[in-house]
Symmetry: D2
């Protein structure tokens, strides 16, 4: 590991750095003592471990970890193959592209069955739908809660699609995990360490959304919380970051998608619905995400968008979903990737 | 209320709007039907209620609530006086300015006593200190947890300062509420509705920090979640928003402070430590916040900043805290406001 | 036109609005006078003209133009077909996709010939290269200036590619226009109205880059300055906006690309080099832009990227350019669009 | 100087670095060759010069200049005293605080005289007013141009206030310099190197506004362009950066003000009018700027704000200007600074 120390380094700060090195079994060499006996650069050698980088970064005497060397964090690709995450009929990563689709929120059983069937018929392998909804206003529809989970369970059995649903707090994790094939940690909860850890402990696949104000490093460290529980069934989801313009709800960070595919072995999908926030732009934004290398999509779709209790402006129609599936299929073909459908796996009767 | 409807309004969308108006007992008048029989502007008249604005905003047919009219939300000042929030010896709002100071995290009992005494002697009326710490990395110090709460309780008894401490998840609220004079909802949890509601239900004063990527509207609606539980003992805290530059950690939004003092009757304080992220700039940023109208400060201070387990780069020394107190006192005097100290209230022996 | 007036409207402010309406020959109807004699909503009817929206927006009494009605600005698509912009062998818009490639700056004649030939052979129809470079530091290479223009002219004759080059100030426009097939207005100059107007007056095609801090509305109004000179040979270029993360140089706004294709009839291209700022991500970002609907690319390429005097980190190699051309061709084919090459038009010997 | 080289460094890249070092007379020492013969860290020793940092940063092989050492740029404070910039009766820096006030644009001679007299009587020592206006829309009022300069000259003679006015393009610099006591480079022109250089060459004081999307480093390098002409009469102006919220027009970066006062010897003022964009918040934002350490203010004021041709929403009244002067005076007193008025200098009859 290569450390840049603070310019004005006190003796106590230096001792703290050297003590930690010695606690971690690292041998330190000062590289640069020009004009003073206090080093600015320290090379640490020894066995690497995931926690080393963070622990040095937390010291007041360390300006920057210039190179983490062998101290690899668990999310780092290093030279690893893609981690393929499987859930119900879906496969993400390793050349597999899958589609998650469904309404913003679970509202009503019959409506949900209708949307789920349509989504499945168009090519989705997982159904999204929130029973617990994170909302900006206390006066907005907050989801049906546990009865919403029951509806999801019923539809799952009836339609044969796996279910992705969000958890908002640690108290509800067991209930959510009982129904969900994939537990979603939403953008607003990305930085909630207790939630990340408890979700990780269920052993279920986790769909982790990037916070709209979070850096890629923060996003990966949120994944690292889950990985530190021993669960590596993580699907990263880029859903747009907040920008200064209001013509779209968020900005899909396609550069981050491309970067993540290099930096980590975990699969990465995009959410064009929250990125665009406008149903008329979802398709183009979805295309951009897949073309940038994403391993899948999560899309809000509704059989009657104008009647949705939430996010109606960004929900697309069933027929538009069909067009997105065609695009995704074609883009996957171009790269020799497989767009996974229930037929692909021989799961559909 | 005055609504701008979507340009391409379907009949179903219009029905949904009219049905909600009628459910809420509002009389609707179409203002504008030039060139078509579908209205673009709707005036709704009738008794106002806090939830009306959000419920109309959630409808896909409504482009914008142009004017909420009588539909006032609970955080709105309207013509109300400042809500003065009291906690231990501190007073926020209504011309009272108070100082919260302490370490980032609770680390050790003796150290905490040392810092608490110094903070109190400098003029702080509340001690800050995290037992549960929200951290970016799983390998960073996460706080002592419940034993940290016990230390806070001990120091509170010993030093005679009230305590502000953060809660990260609903499961821990009862434990935190037992010790805390003020429960802190941190920036990363601002959008967690279950946490806001459960914290509100304790009836305790809540220090609500603005998320670093949150708009002022979202911030106020987070307060509205707490207000909807009947608890209006809320201290809003502007702690800087994320910008594109890296010379400071965040940007203190002084315009938002000025706006909030107009828009709401709730007190507003600033956190110059997280805004600046650099101990050498905390004092100037604190001055800016108070000058913009803030009702107080929350500052990270440490007797040995270089040994802090977290956020050492932004913790100021005890003597710098003394200078900030002098500045705050002087700025409060200029406006005829009172900087509240334990002596002010005759609480200090 | 539909105007929302300020809530606290003075009589003078109202008069100013009514006077302007009457000056422009518009008939005004107050839509809403509930509870007061001062209107909040004004409907203006009459012949539309491009300047009307801006002139009302500039009045202190107008809160917002809710609907511009017939007052269409020149950049608006309305129901127009794509404006196809032609320059040398390139075609942008109307189903034509073209590639502009070349070095960041013109450095040396032989090197430029080498890159130009390679770019042409890979499929570029225009050569980019700056003679005048906008730089952050006065100590960086500022371009060769007029001798750089002479080199471009020489290479153009020798290699048979059209030339895109940037102008930084009105004094140099005639010199630049003499050599350039397309005059570039860079991101840092997007808001320079004198430059926009003088460039427009040359009648040459203009490549207009979006400022990295500019909204889409500001970008379109910069185009409107050019359009107001009677020149509509404009190629809009999205090149990434500044975000809060540093893993990429900028964020390519693919949602803006999709929006622009709806909002205006002018062609839109993307610059993946400045968006990514990293040669290893340029290809994925380019793919995203084309998939979102862009009519072309402008890419920095260099035969020896490590020797470039500027922007070496984002310049791609000739072979990577070949891969981008293949991707672009394939993506254009998917949509039934034409990737324009010199062969396509029978221009290459 | 201390350089961090790229991780994957080619031989050519390394040669380019070593060649530049030798051209600049610097002796290079590789500090770190663990595990390979290619260095990652290079210490360069020798005489420092302002251009060295930028020239190394421009090389593709250099990841980062970790420490510029003796290679100080001209704007750096090092251990220099404040540069006090004088213009007419105003003084900025070195404990002097001055006020610039006036309308957004020069519109009419009598109106301008009226505002100028009022501004002077309230305590302004310089009159602002644009003859050339940078506008978003071609249909907005673009300023009176040269006749506007004549009006400024007339008012200057009549009222006895110095004049600050903006230049938009190199062609007009001589005309502007003839009238202006201080030449303004606006936020939209901050990155225009030809304009910075030509303005610098006039030898006049320059008011340099930070671009709303510019980093502090970019801002200082814009100043460096002026400094490189030998002109160091520069007043830096923080006027707010663009954020993601719309309740204010921009975010005043008070942390940047505090940082700049450390980093450079040049004076720094703030523009609360463009930062807030709302006349009801200008005063609080101005207070915040002065409290953070700014050496002055530039404020938009109008005798009849509702009739202003531009920016009417942010122009304050004469009486509000009086309150801002009182605040500024009081805040300057607190720090032992001098608020400069014409009387202060015995210049008013």
């Amino acid at each position: 590991m290569l450390l840049l120390l603070q310019k004005e380094l006190s003796e106590r700060q230096l001792s703290a750095v050297l003590d930690l090195a010695s606690e971690l079994g690292l041998q330190s060499t000062a590289l640069d003592e020009v004009g003073c006996s206090v080093p600015r650069l320290l090379r640490l050698a020894g066995p690497g471990a995931p926690e080393q980088r963070s622990r040095f970064e937390d010291l007041a005497g360390v300006a920057k970890v210039l190179d983490a060397g062998e101290a690899r964090e668990r999310h780092e690709r290093a030279s690893r193959e893609d981690r393929v995450v499987e859930a119900a009929a879906a496969r993400f990563g390793g050349g597999h592209v899958s589609l998650i689709a469904g309404p913003c929120a679970v509202e009503d059983g019959d409506r949900l069955v209708e949307i789920a069937r349509a989504a499945r018929d168009q090519g989705a392998t997982l159904l999204r739908g929130g029973a617990f909804k994170p909302r900006t206003s206390p006066y907005s529809f907050q989801g049906l809660g546990r009865p919403g989970l029951d509806l999801l369970a019923r539809v799952k059995a009836e339609v044969g699609l796996g279910v992705v649903t969000e958890v908002l707090e640690t108290r509800e994790i067991d209930h959510v995990a009982e129904v969900a094939d994939v537990i979603q940690i939403g953008a607003r909860s990305m930085a909630s360490s207790p939630l990340l850890i408890e979700a990780g402990r269920t052993g279920k696949p986790i769909l982790l959304k990037r916070g709209f104000g979070a850096t890629v490093r923060e996003f990966l460290m949120a994944a690292e919380f889950i990985l530190s529980t021993g669960n590596d069934r993580i699907i990263l989801c880029e859903r747009g970051v907040r920008g200064f313009d209001t013509i779209t709800r968020n900005l899909l960070d396609v550069g981050a998608v491309a970067h993540l595919k290099q930096a980590t072995h975990l699969p990465v999908i995009v959410d064009p619905s929250h990125a665009a926030g406008r149903s008329d732009l979802v398709r183009q934004v979805a295309r951009a995400g897949i073309a940038a290398g994403a391993d899948g999509l999560i899309v809000e779709v509704h059989s009657h968008p104008e009647e949705a209790h939430s996010d109606g402006a960004q929900a697309i129609s069933i027929s538009e979903l069909g067009r997105i599936v065609q695009d995704t299929q074609a883009l996957a073909d171009l790269d020799g990737r497989t767009f996974v459908q229930q037929e692909t796996l021989g799961l559909r009767a």
